[in-house]
């Protein structure tokens, strides 16, 4: 079986599956049970500075989006950072780390944007024996109204400044957790890098309103007739998170910046995808909140099997494996020509491909009177929409035309060489260069 041991910024864990800073990691009781269940590490729920404890709402904290069979697809929350006293959390962190020395114990922190506040809390965390700290620059609700969380994460200068304070005031590895509620994730990541961060973790939750109660005319979750935006997470946010992870990973200046991937990781496959796009490990929250700690068993068995099948012996072989293939549109090969092919043996004659193509795409599918659907190669632009709407897996596939074959849509033979927008005659820049 593949070895899942990971070393993330010097923090070792028996597998790359960590629980993200969130309610599952808010107390000793949970974290011990998580470690017993097999989790490789945790990021302890965000600690704030000493003083009066945080206050949470006393109505619902979560809103959700479900699939038809009530499969939870997206979750939103308005919970704040830990509402338990700082000394209690510190004491528990120390006790758990002492009993589970082989597991990663990272402590999430969020204190006001003044150096004294960071100077005050860092030694306290160091004293617990924790392996590192994660700076919560991501929470988009509540704390951001007080100038913390995503309010910091949205200003690269603040990120760099606070990261530098932290690096100057502790020997512990420092992971900076980024908010996705920005326009270009590379800017805050670069700021963290410049400030000396050992790694970034992303994404934190996305500003969201999950739904509106159409009787109360109030956003959900609704507190006494009102609602505030919350942070969205779960399977629904994974594509957004994957892109942001990849954008950082493929930026040359940050090629060596370790990334902890977060955002909708629900299965081993999700984790493998994050890792292939550059994440050295992953953090999980919503899946654990939905199904319990036990899911880590599937993540471990699944990733092991996958790595065995791929002949990989260490997670480091998987990390960044897909990064070289994340490209810009302008470099995609325009001479790669495919056509949709409908397997008539698999087709159940529902006509969804026809409706999609006829009504919304390129009118490239023909429907016969006896409900046989075929592709018109002279119209098919290979958009893939028919594949995506077909309910039968593998029924419609995109088949590549061989070099030299005539693309009936353009009437031109398929060229052997790579040809992209940067060299395309329609590109004004190419025309200019030629002049």
């Amino acid at each position: 079986m593949a070895n899942l041991t990971t070393d993330f910024v010097g923090i070792k864990s028996p597998n790359p599956f960590w629980l993200a800073s969130a309610p599952p990691t808010d107390k000793e009781y949970n974290v011990r049970r998580a470690f017993e269940a097999g989790w490789g590490g945790v990021v302890w729920k965000t600690l704030g500075e000493a003083g009066p404890p945080i206050v949470n709402v006393n109505g619902p904290r979560y809103g959700a989006i479900w699939g038809a069979d009530r499969r939870l697809l997206g979750l939103n929350n308005i919970e704040l950072i830990t509402d338990r006293p700082l000394d209690v959390n510190l004491r528990e962190i120390k006790a758990v780390k002492r009993d589970y020395p082989d597991r990663a114990m990272v402590v999430s922190l969020m204190v006001p944007c003044v150096e004294e506040a960071w100077k005050a809390i860092l030694p306290l965390v160091e004293e617990t024996g924790a392996d590192g700290v994660e700076l919560n620059f991501g929470c988009p609700h509540g704390m951001s109204e007080r100038g913390m969380g995503s309010a910091v994460g949205q200003v690269p200068e603040y990120i760099e400044m606070v990261t530098r304070w932290v690096k100057q005031n502790t020997r512990m590895p420092c992971i900076v957790k980024l908010t996705p509620n920005i326009t270009d994730i590379r800017k805050p990541a670069m700021a963290a890098h410049a400030g000396g961060a050992d790694a970034v973790s992303l994404i934190n939750t996305i500003n969201s309103i999950t739904s509106v109660d159409l009787d109360l005319f109030a956003p959900e979750p609704t507190i006494d007739g009102k609602g505030a935006h919350g942070g969205y997470c779960g399977p629904a946010v994974k594509p957004i998170a994957l892109n942001m992870v990849a954008e950082i990973a493929r930026t040359p200046e940050m090629a060596d910046l370790p990334i902890s991937g977060i955002g909708g990781v629900t299965t081993w496959k999700d984790a493998a995808e994050f890792m292939a796009l550059g994440a050295g490990n992953v953090q999980v929250c919503t899946a654990a909140m939905t199904y319990g700690f036990k899911i880590v068993q599937e993540m471990i068995s699944g990733l092991s099997q996958y790595m065995d099948e791929k002949g990989m012996t260490s997670t480091s072989e998987l990390v960044r494996k897909a990064v070289p293939n994340v490209s810009d549109w302008q470099h995609l090969n325009l001479n790669y020509v495919t056509k949709a092919r409908i397997d008539q043996d698999l087709c159940i004659s529902c006509g969804r491909c026809f409706a999609a193509c006829e009504d919304t795409s390129h009118q490239a599918i023909v429907m016969s009177e006896d409900r046989v659907f075929t592709v018109k190669d002279d119209e098919c632009v290979a958009c893939n929409l028919c594949v995506n709407v077909c309910p039968v897996e593998g029924c419609i596939t995109m088949e590549r035309l061989e070099v030299g074959a005539i693309d009936e849509r353009t009437g031109r033979p398929v060229a052997a060489e790579h040809g992209d927008w940067t060299s395309h005659p329609n590109n004004p820049a190419v025309a200019q260069a030629a002049e």
Binding site: T267, K294, G302
Partner: protein, 441 residues
């Protein structure tokens, strides 16, 4: 109507080969990949799931279903087989409707359980089709263990012992290994020689030798086994059949259902297997249903199961009863056989209606019968066996018998239902206990 169907007496070829093969085809069939994903998606991944508690082998059902859902049926199979090395056969023959699926929260809430049995089969079949045996042996211990009976209990015990590094010799009286998986069970539940293929797959662990045609008491004695081996596990099942005491029970055409089922399972050409026109099966368990349904599938015109108690006392599950009804088998309850009529061969069998406490009512009826199958229970046979508890070998804990160094499990041991899955659990647990005992010594 086809004259062959109406022909009186016990004759072969009542149905044409196409009808025979259609009838005896795989009862459930294998789920396609898509069906498996849809079925797996219905699992709620319950905490401390009731289905696991209901499984005699404690398979982690939510985990294996999640492993299917996440595209790793091989990992799912390993989860299953770690607990139940005959998970493939159990997926086919377990009465899931009275075990895991009965307590599935979706059965309780909606009357529609997650298809646990079929998902289990999807996973185990996927792995076995790849020829993968996901377990390996520990370093050799030098210990030798004798197992009597190569059925589910004996083989489960053998596999677990072999995994622990012991050398295992399995003796079986029949020419083939597999026990009731091979010689019992309706053919439509174990198609394409699955029982034999599963044995071959199981033996890939190594360290297990099977010797067929050797019976305890005939070819070897208990004391020989005890002196020649470090431990003995008895898993020989129930070799005898309860006798029918009604007058005329010795008439021609009155047969044991288990023998009929065994003949059918070993038959390579079902059109050569004779069956009566009017078949009566006496009993209320799975053997009765298997015999009755298969009689019908062989072309018997009238098949009736007669059980002496009420329907709620039948050992065959409601699902099995409905299967029988769907195949055209009539079920009569609260009736006991009082006489078998006929001149030499059975022609009629007479029953008397009984109350639920078996008190005769005085009202009788007769059923035309040219073939009668007795499915009224099996009995343990053998001498020099450890102490009995009733009519089976008494065991405490994980199969310990009254004799030191001798364990027992499966149908021959007291306690537990007579199910394949129960036998596997008992064989496995006895193996663990034997291992601990031998390594301590």
């Amino acid at each position: 109507m086809d004259a062959r169907a109406l022909k009186e007496g016990i004759v072969s070829g009542r149905l044409d080969p196409d009808a025979l093969s259609a009838g005896f085809a795989d009862l459930h069939g294998q789920l396609s990949n898509h069906e498996a994903l849809v079925a797996a998606d219905r699992c709620y991944f319950c905490h401390d799931a009731p289905c696991v508690t209901a499984c005699p082998t404690d398979i982690d059902i939510p985990l294996f279903i999640r492993q299917i859902a996440t595209g790793t049926p091989e990992a799912a199979a390993k989860t299953i087989l770690t607990q139940n090395i005959m998970g493939g056969m159990c997926a086919r023959v377990c009465p899931t409707e009275t075990l895991c699926e009965e307590v599935c929260v979706r059965e309780v809430a909606e009357g529609e359980p997650v298809q646990i049995g079929r998902l289990q089969r999807y996973a185990t079949d996927t792995l076995m089709a790849q020829g993968v045996h996901p377990f390996s042996r520990a370093a050799p211990t030098g210990k030798r263990i004798a197992i009597v009976g190569a059925g589910p209990a004996g083989l489960a015990c053998a596999h677990r012992l072999a995994m622990h590094g012991h050398d295992v010799l399995v003796f079986d009286a029949r020419p083939k290994a597999g026990g009731l998986n091979e010689y019992g069970i309706a053919a439509y539940k174990s198609t394409e020689d699955f029982a034999a293929r599963e044995v071959d797959w199981l033996l890939q662990i190594g360290g297990i030798e099977i010797r067929n045609g050797i019976a305890l008491g005939r070819d070897m004695t208990m004391s020989e086994l005890q002196s020649d081996y470090d431990a003995v596990f008895l898993g020989m099942g129930l070799g005898g059949v309860n006798a029918l005491t009604a007058p005329g029970a010795d008439k021609e055409g009155v047969l044991d259902a288990v023998g009929f089922i065994a003949d059918l399972r070993q038959c390579t050409d079902l059109s050569s297997l004779p069956v009566g026109r009017d078949v009566v099966v006496i009993g209320g368990g799975m053997t009765a249903v298997d015999a009755a349904v298969q009689s019908k599938l062989l072309g018997a015109l009238n098949v009736t199961i007669v059980y002496r108690r009420g329907r709620d006392r039948m050992n065959a599950s409601v699902w099995e009863q409905e299967l029988a009804a769907a195949k055209g088998v009539r079920i009569i309850t609260n009736a006991s056989p009082v006489a078998v009529h006929g001149n030499g061969a059975v022609r009629e069998i007479e029953f008397e209606f009984t109350d639920d406490d078996l008190t005769p009512t005085g009202q009788t009826f007769r059923l035309a019968a040219d073939q009668v199958f007795k499915a009224i229970g099996q009995t343990l046979t053998g001498d020099d066996l450890p102490d009995l508890d009733g009519r089976k070998i008494a065991v405490t804990g994980p199969g310990r018998t009254s004799v030191k160094g001798v364990w027992a499990g499966g149908d021959c041991a007291a306690g537990g239902e007579d199910l394949t899955v129960t036998a596997v659990a008992e064989g496995r647990d006895a193996a663990e206990d034997i291992h601990v005992a031998l390594m301590r010594a």
